[in-house]
Protein backbone atom coordinates (compact mmCIF):
# COMPACT_ATOMS: atom_id res chain seq x y z
CA UNK A 1 0.00 0.00 0.00
CA UNK A 2 2.82 2.36 0.91
CA UNK A 3 4.59 1.50 -2.32
CA UNK A 4 1.56 2.62 -4.28
CA UNK A 5 1.95 6.13 -2.96
CA UNK A 6 5.73 6.21 -2.96
CA UNK A 7 6.23 5.01 -6.51
CA UNK A 8 3.84 7.57 -7.87
CA UNK A 9 5.02 10.42 -5.69
CA UNK A 10 8.50 9.91 -7.09
CA UNK A 11 7.12 10.87 -10.48
CA UNK A 12 6.15 14.26 -9.05
CA UNK A 13 2.40 13.96 -9.08
CA UNK A 14 -0.23 13.41 -6.46
CA UNK A 15 -0.25 9.82 -5.17
CA UNK A 16 -3.05 7.53 -6.28
CA UNK A 17 -3.94 6.83 -2.67
CA UNK A 18 -3.64 9.70 -0.24
CA UNK A 19 -2.46 7.91 2.87
CA UNK A 20 -3.11 10.88 5.13
CA UNK A 21 -6.75 11.03 4.07
CA UNK A 22 -7.07 7.30 4.56
CA UNK A 23 -5.65 7.15 8.06
CA UNK A 24 -6.81 10.54 9.35
CA UNK A 25 -10.28 10.84 7.78
CA UNK A 26 -11.10 7.19 7.10
CA UNK A 27 -9.87 5.66 10.33
CA UNK A 28 -8.60 7.97 13.08
CA UNK A 29 -11.23 10.69 12.96
CA UNK A 30 -14.13 8.37 13.74
CA UNK A 31 -12.25 6.18 16.20
CA UNK A 32 -10.84 9.02 18.29
CA UNK A 33 -14.15 10.87 18.26
CA UNK A 34 -16.15 7.84 19.37
CA UNK A 35 -13.62 6.89 22.04
CA UNK A 36 -14.11 10.35 23.53
CA UNK A 37 -17.88 9.87 23.30
CA UNK A 38 -17.57 6.50 25.02
CA UNK A 39 -15.50 8.05 27.78
CA UNK A 40 -18.19 10.71 28.27
CA UNK A 41 -20.87 8.01 28.47
CA UNK A 42 -18.86 6.12 31.05
CA UNK A 43 -18.44 9.15 33.27
CA UNK A 44 -21.75 10.97 32.88
CA UNK A 45 -24.05 8.02 32.08
CA UNK A 46 -24.11 6.83 35.66
CA UNK A 47 -23.56 10.15 37.39
CA UNK A 48 -26.04 12.28 35.42
CA UNK A 49 -27.98 10.02 33.07
CA UNK A 50 -30.22 7.89 35.27
CA UNK A 51 -33.13 10.28 35.81
CA UNK A 52 -34.40 12.40 32.92
CA UNK A 53 -36.19 14.71 35.37
CA UNK A 54 -33.05 15.54 37.33
CA UNK A 55 -31.37 18.93 36.77
CA UNK A 56 -28.01 17.32 36.00
CA UNK A 57 -29.62 15.41 33.10
CA UNK A 58 -30.45 18.75 31.50
CA UNK A 59 -26.92 19.92 32.12
CA UNK A 60 -24.96 16.94 30.81
CA UNK A 61 -27.18 15.17 28.25
CA UNK A 62 -29.87 17.35 26.69
CA UNK A 63 -27.45 19.99 25.35
CA UNK A 64 -25.71 17.28 23.34
CA UNK A 65 -29.02 16.42 21.67
CA UNK A 66 -29.84 20.05 20.98
CA UNK A 67 -26.45 20.71 19.43
CA UNK A 68 -25.88 17.51 17.47
CA UNK A 69 -29.12 17.36 15.49
CA UNK A 70 -28.86 20.77 13.78
CA UNK A 71 -25.13 20.25 13.31
CA UNK A 72 -25.76 16.99 11.50
CA UNK A 73 -28.35 18.52 9.19
CA UNK A 74 -25.93 21.33 8.41
CA UNK A 75 -23.06 18.90 7.78
CA UNK A 76 -25.10 16.68 5.47
CA UNK A 77 -26.34 19.71 3.54
CA UNK A 78 -22.84 21.12 3.25
CA UNK A 79 -21.27 17.84 2.08
CA UNK A 80 -23.95 17.24 -0.53
CA UNK A 81 -23.96 20.85 -1.73
CA UNK A 82 -20.18 21.12 -1.91
CA UNK A 83 -19.75 17.88 -3.82
CA UNK A 84 -22.52 18.81 -6.22
CA UNK A 85 -21.25 22.35 -6.75
CA UNK A 86 -17.72 21.15 -7.51
CA UNK A 87 -18.79 18.24 -9.69
CA UNK A 88 -17.06 17.30 -12.90
CA UNK A 89 -19.17 18.57 -15.77
CA UNK A 90 -17.17 17.15 -18.64
CA UNK A 91 -15.66 13.72 -18.14
CA UNK A 92 -14.06 13.69 -21.58
CA UNK A 93 -11.18 15.78 -20.23
CA UNK A 94 -10.44 13.46 -17.34
CA UNK A 95 -7.66 10.90 -17.87
CA UNK A 96 -7.91 7.29 -16.83
CA UNK A 97 -5.12 7.93 -14.35
CA UNK A 98 -7.19 10.64 -12.69
CA UNK A 99 -10.23 8.35 -12.63
CA UNK A 100 -8.17 5.71 -10.87
CA UNK A 101 -7.02 8.34 -8.37
CA UNK A 102 -10.64 9.27 -7.79
CA UNK A 103 -11.47 5.63 -7.25
CA UNK A 104 -8.95 5.61 -4.43
CA UNK A 105 -10.52 8.76 -2.96
CA UNK A 106 -13.82 6.97 -3.25
CA UNK A 107 -12.37 4.01 -1.38
CA UNK A 108 -11.27 6.40 1.39
CA UNK A 109 -14.86 7.61 1.60
CA UNK A 110 -16.07 4.01 1.77
CA UNK A 111 -13.52 3.16 4.48
CA UNK A 112 -14.93 6.09 6.47
CA UNK A 113 -18.44 4.82 5.81
CA UNK A 114 -17.54 1.31 6.95
CA UNK A 115 -15.99 2.78 10.07
CA UNK A 116 -19.04 4.93 10.77
CA UNK A 117 -21.41 2.01 10.16
CA UNK A 118 -19.42 -0.15 12.56
CA UNK A 119 -19.60 2.38 15.38
CA UNK A 120 -23.25 3.20 14.80
CA UNK A 121 -24.84 -0.12 13.89
CA UNK A 122 -22.64 -2.43 15.91
CA UNK A 123 -20.93 -0.75 18.83
CA UNK A 124 -23.47 1.78 20.00
CA UNK A 125 -26.55 -0.25 19.03
CA UNK A 126 -25.71 -3.30 21.09
CA UNK A 127 -24.51 -0.99 23.83
CA UNK A 128 -28.06 0.35 23.92
CA UNK A 129 -29.26 -3.17 24.70
CA UNK A 130 -27.22 -3.52 27.86
CA UNK A 131 -27.94 0.03 29.03
CA UNK A 132 -31.70 -0.34 28.75
CA UNK A 133 -31.78 -3.77 30.30
CA UNK A 134 -29.92 -2.29 33.24
CA UNK A 135 -31.28 1.26 33.51
CA UNK A 136 -35.02 1.40 32.97
CA UNK A 137 -35.81 4.31 30.67
CA UNK A 138 -37.99 7.22 31.66
CA UNK A 139 -37.56 9.21 28.46
CA UNK A 140 -36.98 8.73 24.75
CA UNK A 141 -33.77 10.70 25.06
CA UNK A 142 -31.69 8.46 27.28
CA UNK A 143 -27.87 8.69 27.36
CA UNK A 144 -27.51 5.73 25.02
CA UNK A 145 -30.20 7.00 22.65
CA UNK A 146 -28.77 10.51 22.47
CA UNK A 147 -25.51 8.94 21.28
CA UNK A 148 -26.81 6.00 19.27
CA UNK A 149 -29.85 7.37 17.47
CA UNK A 150 -29.10 11.06 17.24
CA UNK A 151 -25.32 11.02 16.87
CA UNK A 152 -23.91 7.81 15.39
CA UNK A 153 -26.76 7.09 12.98
CA UNK A 154 -26.81 10.59 11.45
CA UNK A 155 -23.01 10.53 11.23
CA UNK A 156 -22.97 7.37 9.14
CA UNK A 157 -25.84 8.78 7.09
CA UNK A 158 -23.79 11.94 6.43
CA UNK A 159 -20.81 9.78 5.50
CA UNK A 160 -22.96 7.63 3.23
CA UNK A 161 -24.32 10.72 1.50
CA UNK A 162 -20.73 11.86 1.02
CA UNK A 163 -19.75 8.51 -0.52
CA UNK A 164 -22.68 8.49 -2.88
CA UNK A 165 -22.30 12.10 -3.93
CA UNK A 166 -18.56 11.72 -4.48
CA UNK A 167 -19.07 8.77 -6.80
CA UNK A 168 -21.99 10.40 -8.60
CA UNK A 169 -20.13 13.65 -9.24
CA UNK A 170 -16.56 12.41 -9.80
CA UNK A 171 -16.62 8.94 -11.33
CA UNK A 172 -17.95 8.61 -14.88
CA UNK A 173 -19.06 5.03 -14.26
CA UNK A 174 -21.40 6.16 -11.47
CA UNK A 175 -22.36 9.43 -13.13
CA UNK A 176 -24.18 7.61 -15.91
CA UNK A 177 -27.16 6.94 -13.67
CA UNK A 178 -28.18 6.18 -10.12
CA UNK A 179 -26.55 2.96 -9.00
CA UNK A 180 -29.24 0.74 -7.48
CA UNK A 181 -26.94 -1.13 -5.06
CA UNK A 182 -25.35 2.16 -3.99
CA UNK A 183 -28.79 3.54 -3.35
CA UNK A 184 -29.62 0.46 -1.28
CA UNK A 185 -26.45 0.59 0.80
CA UNK A 186 -26.87 4.29 1.58
CA UNK A 187 -30.64 4.71 1.72
CA UNK A 188 -31.34 1.44 3.60
CA UNK A 189 -29.29 2.33 6.67
CA UNK A 190 -30.56 5.89 6.24
CA UNK A 191 -34.09 4.55 6.73
CA UNK A 192 -33.05 3.16 10.10
CA UNK A 193 -33.12 6.74 11.29
CA UNK A 194 -36.80 7.36 10.44
CA UNK A 195 -37.49 3.97 12.00
CA UNK A 196 -36.24 5.49 15.25
CA UNK A 197 -39.52 7.41 15.27
CA UNK A 198 -41.52 4.19 15.26
CA UNK A 199 -39.26 2.75 17.92
CA UNK A 200 -39.57 5.71 20.25
CA UNK A 201 -43.32 5.91 19.73
CA UNK A 202 -43.62 2.22 20.52
CA UNK A 203 -41.56 2.48 23.65
CA UNK A 204 -43.82 5.20 24.99
CA UNK A 205 -46.78 2.95 24.18
CA UNK A 206 -45.69 -0.53 25.31
CA UNK A 207 -43.57 -1.68 28.18
CA UNK A 208 -41.12 -4.04 26.53
CA UNK A 209 -37.73 -3.64 28.12
CA UNK A 210 -37.38 -7.33 28.76
CA UNK A 211 -36.92 -8.43 25.17
CA UNK A 212 -34.36 -6.92 22.82
CA UNK A 213 -35.69 -9.10 19.99
CA UNK A 214 -39.14 -7.52 20.37
CA UNK A 215 -41.11 -7.17 17.10
CA UNK A 216 -41.05 -3.40 17.46
CA UNK A 217 -37.33 -3.56 16.62
CA UNK A 218 -37.75 -5.50 13.38
CA UNK A 219 -37.77 -2.31 11.32
CA UNK A 220 -34.11 -1.85 12.23
CA UNK A 221 -33.43 -5.39 11.09
CA UNK A 222 -35.11 -4.89 7.74
CA UNK A 223 -33.15 -1.75 6.99
CA UNK A 224 -29.96 -3.32 8.33
CA UNK A 225 -30.23 -5.91 5.55
CA UNK A 226 -29.70 -3.14 3.03
CA UNK A 227 -26.04 -3.07 4.05
CA UNK A 228 -25.78 -6.08 1.74
CA UNK A 229 -26.03 -3.58 -1.10
CA UNK A 230 -22.26 -3.25 -0.62
CA UNK A 231 -21.98 -6.53 -2.56
CA UNK A 232 -23.56 -5.08 -5.69
CA UNK A 233 -21.65 -1.86 -5.24
CA UNK A 234 -18.36 -3.76 -5.17
CA UNK A 235 -19.37 -5.64 -8.30
CA UNK A 236 -19.86 -2.27 -10.01
CA UNK A 237 -16.64 -0.75 -8.69
CA UNK A 238 -14.57 -3.73 -9.78
CA UNK A 239 -16.31 -3.76 -13.13
CA UNK A 240 -15.09 -0.21 -13.69
CA UNK A 241 -11.61 -0.95 -12.32
CA UNK A 242 -11.26 -3.90 -14.67
CA UNK A 243 -11.69 -1.45 -17.52
CA UNK A 244 -9.09 0.87 -16.06
CA UNK A 245 -6.31 -1.58 -15.24
CA UNK A 246 -7.46 -4.66 -17.13
CA UNK A 247 -5.67 -6.47 -19.90
CA UNK A 248 -7.28 -4.48 -22.69
CA UNK A 249 -5.75 -1.21 -21.50
CA UNK A 250 -2.66 -2.48 -19.70
CA UNK A 251 -0.85 -5.16 -21.67
CA UNK A 252 1.57 -5.69 -18.80
CA UNK A 253 -1.15 -7.02 -16.51
Amino acid sequence: MAATSASVSAAGEAPLLNQRNLWCFGIAYYCVYYLIVRWYEGVYGWSAGLDAFAPEFNTYWMPILKIEVPLEFATASFIASYLWKTRTRDFSTVSNREILRRHFHHFVWLVAYANAVYWGASYFTEQDGTWHQTIVRDTDFTPSHIIEFYMTYPIYICTGIGCFMYSYTRLPYFAKGVSLPYLLVVVGPFMIFPNVGLNEWGHTFWWMEELFVAPLHYGFVFFGWFALGILGLFAQIFDDLTGLIGKDVCPDV
Binding site: T4, G45, N96, V111, T125, E126, G177, F220, L228, C250
Partner: protein
Protein backbone atom coordinates in the same frame (compact mmCIF):
# COMPACT_ATOMS: atom_id res chain seq x y z
CA UNK B 1 -11.34 10.55 -21.13
CA UNK B 2 -9.27 8.26 -23.27
CA UNK B 3 -10.52 4.70 -23.24
CA UNK B 4 -7.23 3.30 -24.55
CA UNK B 5 -4.86 5.03 -22.16
CA UNK B 6 -3.98 2.78 -19.26
CA UNK B 7 -4.47 4.10 -15.75
CA UNK B 8 -1.33 2.32 -14.56
CA UNK B 9 2.16 2.54 -16.01
CA UNK B 10 3.74 -0.81 -15.34
CA UNK B 11 3.02 -4.34 -14.36
CA UNK B 12 4.48 -3.68 -10.91
CA UNK B 13 2.24 -0.70 -10.34
CA UNK B 14 -0.79 -2.63 -11.57
CA UNK B 15 -0.04 -5.32 -9.01
CA UNK B 16 0.41 -2.72 -6.24
CA UNK B 17 -2.82 -0.98 -7.16
CA UNK B 18 -4.65 -4.27 -7.30
CA UNK B 19 -3.38 -5.37 -3.88
CA UNK B 20 -4.16 -2.02 -2.31
CA UNK B 21 -7.69 -2.16 -3.63
CA UNK B 22 -8.02 -5.70 -2.26
CA UNK B 23 -7.03 -4.58 1.24
CA UNK B 24 -9.30 -1.55 1.17
CA UNK B 25 -12.17 -3.59 -0.22
CA UNK B 26 -11.76 -6.26 2.41
CA UNK B 27 -11.78 -3.67 5.19
CA UNK B 28 -14.91 -2.03 3.81
CA UNK B 29 -16.70 -5.33 3.24
CA UNK B 30 -15.77 -6.58 6.71
CA UNK B 31 -17.07 -3.57 8.62
CA UNK B 32 -20.16 -2.82 6.54
CA UNK B 33 -21.20 -6.47 6.79
CA UNK B 34 -20.39 -6.35 10.49
CA UNK B 35 -22.75 -3.42 10.97
CA UNK B 36 -25.64 -4.91 9.03
CA UNK B 37 -25.18 -8.43 10.35
CA UNK B 38 -24.83 -7.26 13.93
CA UNK B 39 -28.06 -5.26 13.79
CA UNK B 40 -29.78 -8.30 12.28
CA UNK B 41 -28.28 -10.68 14.85
CA UNK B 42 -28.84 -8.65 18.00
CA UNK B 43 -32.47 -7.90 17.14
CA UNK B 44 -33.47 -11.39 16.02
CA UNK B 45 -31.58 -13.64 18.42
CA UNK B 46 -29.67 -11.15 20.58
CA UNK B 47 -31.14 -11.99 23.96
CA UNK B 48 -30.01 -15.60 23.63
CA UNK B 49 -26.55 -14.42 22.76
CA UNK B 50 -26.29 -11.72 25.44
CA UNK B 51 -26.79 -13.80 28.55
CA UNK B 52 -25.51 -17.20 29.60
CA UNK B 53 -28.78 -18.01 31.40
CA UNK B 54 -30.60 -17.61 28.06
CA UNK B 55 -28.27 -20.12 26.40
CA UNK B 56 -30.58 -23.06 26.94
CA UNK B 57 -30.90 -26.40 25.14
CA UNK B 58 -33.87 -25.56 23.00
CA UNK B 59 -34.48 -22.00 21.80
CA UNK B 60 -30.83 -20.90 21.76
CA UNK B 61 -29.88 -23.98 19.76
CA UNK B 62 -32.81 -23.46 17.41
CA UNK B 63 -32.98 -19.72 16.93
CA UNK B 64 -29.30 -18.80 16.63
CA UNK B 65 -28.29 -20.86 13.56
CA UNK B 66 -31.54 -20.05 11.77
CA UNK B 67 -31.00 -16.34 12.22
CA UNK B 68 -27.27 -16.45 11.49
CA UNK B 69 -27.16 -18.55 8.33
CA UNK B 70 -28.78 -15.59 6.58
CA UNK B 71 -25.97 -13.13 5.90
CA UNK B 72 -23.44 -15.89 5.13
CA UNK B 73 -25.80 -17.26 2.45
CA UNK B 74 -26.31 -13.81 0.93
CA UNK B 75 -22.62 -12.92 0.97
CA UNK B 76 -21.59 -16.29 -0.45
CA UNK B 77 -24.02 -15.80 -3.33
CA UNK B 78 -22.09 -12.76 -4.53
CA UNK B 79 -18.48 -13.09 -3.41
CA UNK B 80 -18.15 -16.67 -4.65
CA UNK B 81 -19.80 -16.08 -7.98
CA UNK B 82 -18.34 -12.65 -8.80
CA UNK B 83 -14.98 -12.71 -7.03
CA UNK B 84 -14.29 -16.42 -6.38
CA UNK B 85 -13.76 -15.59 -2.72
CA UNK B 86 -14.34 -18.75 -0.76
CA UNK B 87 -14.57 -17.31 2.73
CA UNK B 88 -17.80 -15.30 2.57
CA UNK B 89 -19.51 -17.11 5.45
CA UNK B 90 -16.39 -17.07 7.60
CA UNK B 91 -15.94 -13.36 6.97
CA UNK B 92 -19.52 -12.71 8.08
CA UNK B 93 -19.25 -14.75 11.25
CA UNK B 94 -15.80 -13.50 12.24
CA UNK B 95 -16.94 -9.91 11.75
CA UNK B 96 -20.06 -10.53 13.82
CA UNK B 97 -18.18 -12.27 16.63
CA UNK B 98 -15.57 -9.49 16.68
CA UNK B 99 -18.30 -6.85 16.98
CA UNK B 100 -20.00 -8.85 19.73
CA UNK B 101 -16.84 -9.42 21.72
CA UNK B 102 -15.84 -5.75 21.58
CA UNK B 103 -19.30 -4.85 22.80
CA UNK B 104 -19.55 -7.42 25.53
CA UNK B 105 -16.19 -6.39 26.94
CA UNK B 106 -16.35 -2.61 26.64
CA UNK B 107 -20.07 -2.13 27.19
CA UNK B 108 -21.72 -5.10 28.93
CA UNK B 109 -18.74 -5.35 31.25
CA UNK B 110 -17.16 -1.91 30.86
CA UNK B 111 -20.30 0.19 31.22
CA UNK B 112 -22.95 -1.91 32.97
CA UNK B 113 -20.59 -4.26 34.83
CA UNK B 114 -21.94 -7.70 33.92
CA UNK B 115 -19.18 -10.30 34.28
CA UNK B 116 -17.86 -11.60 30.97
CA UNK B 117 -18.80 -15.19 31.82
CA UNK B 118 -22.45 -14.10 31.79
CA UNK B 119 -22.34 -12.11 28.56
CA UNK B 120 -19.91 -13.91 26.22
CA UNK B 121 -21.13 -14.39 22.64
CA UNK B 122 -21.64 -17.76 21.03
CA UNK B 123 -18.91 -19.40 18.92
CA UNK B 124 -19.89 -19.35 15.24
CA UNK B 125 -16.71 -19.76 13.23
CA UNK B 126 -16.58 -23.59 12.93
CA UNK B 127 -20.02 -23.71 11.31
CA UNK B 128 -19.07 -20.89 8.96
CA UNK B 129 -15.88 -22.70 7.92
CA UNK B 130 -17.96 -25.78 7.15
CA UNK B 131 -20.37 -23.69 5.11
CA UNK B 132 -17.50 -22.22 3.11
CA UNK B 133 -15.77 -25.56 2.85
CA UNK B 134 -18.79 -27.24 1.30
CA UNK B 135 -19.16 -24.42 -1.22
CA UNK B 136 -15.50 -24.54 -2.20
CA UNK B 137 -15.41 -28.32 -2.50
CA UNK B 138 -18.69 -28.76 -4.36
CA UNK B 139 -18.98 -25.45 -6.22
CA UNK B 140 -22.72 -25.95 -5.77
CA UNK B 141 -25.12 -23.70 -3.93
CA UNK B 142 -27.59 -26.58 -3.74
CA UNK B 143 -25.09 -28.82 -1.97
CA UNK B 144 -24.06 -25.93 0.26
CA UNK B 145 -27.67 -25.36 1.27
CA UNK B 146 -28.36 -29.02 1.95
CA UNK B 147 -25.09 -30.11 3.54
CA UNK B 148 -23.45 -26.83 4.54
CA UNK B 149 -26.43 -25.20 6.18
CA UNK B 150 -27.23 -28.47 7.94
CA UNK B 151 -23.69 -28.66 9.26
CA UNK B 152 -23.83 -25.00 10.26
CA UNK B 153 -26.73 -25.75 12.57
CA UNK B 154 -25.64 -29.17 13.78
CA UNK B 155 -22.18 -28.11 14.93
CA UNK B 156 -23.44 -25.04 16.74
CA UNK B 157 -24.18 -26.70 20.07
CA UNK B 158 -21.15 -29.04 20.13
CA UNK B 159 -18.84 -26.15 19.30
CA UNK B 160 -20.24 -24.08 22.12
CA UNK B 161 -20.32 -26.96 24.53
CA UNK B 162 -16.81 -26.28 25.75
CA UNK B 163 -17.80 -22.88 27.10
CA UNK B 164 -21.37 -23.62 28.11
CA UNK B 165 -20.96 -27.03 29.76
CA UNK B 166 -19.73 -25.70 33.07
CA UNK B 167 -22.62 -23.26 33.25
CA UNK B 168 -25.15 -26.02 32.63
CA UNK B 169 -23.97 -28.03 35.65
CA UNK B 170 -26.97 -28.77 37.86
CA UNK B 171 -26.93 -27.41 41.39
CA UNK B 172 -29.37 -27.40 44.25
CA UNK B 173 -29.93 -23.89 45.51
CA UNK B 174 -32.31 -23.28 48.42
CA UNK B 175 -33.89 -26.64 47.66
CA UNK B 176 -34.50 -25.88 43.99
CA UNK B 177 -32.77 -27.51 41.01
CA UNK B 178 -30.96 -24.91 38.96
CA UNK B 179 -27.93 -24.51 36.72
CA UNK B 180 -24.85 -22.45 37.44
CA UNK B 181 -26.04 -20.06 34.71
CA UNK B 182 -29.37 -19.65 36.51
CA UNK B 183 -27.69 -18.69 39.75
CA UNK B 184 -25.38 -16.25 38.00
CA UNK B 185 -28.41 -14.69 36.35
CA UNK B 186 -30.22 -14.29 39.64
CA UNK B 187 -27.30 -12.34 41.04
CA UNK B 188 -27.27 -10.00 38.05
CA UNK B 189 -30.92 -9.15 37.61
CA UNK B 190 -31.89 -7.44 34.34
CA UNK B 191 -35.17 -6.55 32.74
CA UNK B 192 -34.47 -9.60 30.56
CA UNK B 193 -33.98 -12.06 33.38
CA UNK B 194 -35.51 -15.18 31.80
CA UNK B 195 -37.31 -16.42 34.87
CA UNK B 196 -39.24 -13.18 34.82
CA UNK B 197 -40.45 -13.47 31.25
CA UNK B 198 -40.78 -17.25 31.31
CA UNK B 199 -39.26 -17.93 27.93
CA UNK B 200 -36.25 -20.08 28.71
CA UNK B 201 -36.51 -23.81 29.38
CA UNK B 202 -40.22 -23.63 29.91
CA UNK B 203 -42.77 -26.40 29.53
CA UNK B 204 -41.57 -29.97 29.77
CA UNK B 205 -37.98 -29.19 28.87
CA UNK B 206 -36.34 -29.90 32.20
CA UNK B 207 -38.16 -33.19 32.60
CA UNK B 208 -37.26 -34.25 29.09
CA UNK B 209 -33.93 -35.80 29.86
CA UNK B 210 -30.91 -35.41 27.66
CA UNK B 211 -32.42 -35.45 24.18
CA UNK B 212 -33.57 -31.86 23.82
CA UNK B 213 -30.45 -30.28 22.31
CA UNK B 214 -29.99 -32.79 19.43
CA UNK B 215 -33.67 -32.56 18.50
CA UNK B 216 -33.47 -28.77 18.55
CA UNK B 217 -30.29 -28.84 16.46
CA UNK B 218 -31.84 -31.07 13.80
CA UNK B 219 -34.96 -28.96 13.63
CA UNK B 220 -32.75 -25.89 13.31
CA UNK B 221 -30.79 -27.63 10.54
CA UNK B 222 -33.91 -28.31 8.48
CA UNK B 223 -35.03 -24.71 8.77
CA UNK B 224 -31.50 -23.52 7.97
CA UNK B 225 -31.67 -25.29 4.60
CA UNK B 226 -34.73 -23.26 3.65
CA UNK B 227 -33.35 -20.06 5.08
CA UNK B 228 -30.13 -20.57 3.12
CA UNK B 229 -32.07 -20.80 -0.15
CA UNK B 230 -34.15 -17.72 0.65
CA UNK B 231 -31.13 -15.66 1.64
CA UNK B 232 -29.14 -16.83 -1.34
CA UNK B 233 -31.69 -15.11 -3.54
CA UNK B 234 -31.88 -12.12 -1.22
CA UNK B 235 -28.11 -11.85 -1.63
CA UNK B 236 -28.45 -12.01 -5.40
CA UNK B 237 -31.02 -9.23 -5.27
CA UNK B 238 -28.75 -7.00 -3.20
CA UNK B 239 -25.87 -7.91 -5.49
CA UNK B 240 -27.56 -6.33 -8.48
CA UNK B 241 -25.44 -4.08 -10.69
CA UNK B 242 -28.34 -2.19 -12.23
CA UNK B 243 -28.64 1.54 -12.63
CA UNK B 244 -31.96 3.23 -12.11
CA UNK B 245 -31.59 5.50 -15.10
CA UNK B 246 -29.26 5.17 -18.02
CA UNK B 247 -28.32 8.40 -19.74
Amino acid sequence: MSSTQSAVRSHAEAVQVSRTIDYLGLFILFFVILGGFHVHAMLTMGDWDFWSDWKDRRLWVTVTPIMLVTFPAAVQAIVWEHFRIGFGATLCCISLVLGEWINRYFNFWGWTYFPINIVFPAILTPGAILLDGVLILTNSYLATAVFGATAFALVFYPCNWVIIAGLHMPVEYHGILMSIADISGYHYVRTGTPEYIRMIEKGTLRTFGKDVAPVSAFFSAFVCIMIYFIWHFIGRWYGTTKFLQQT
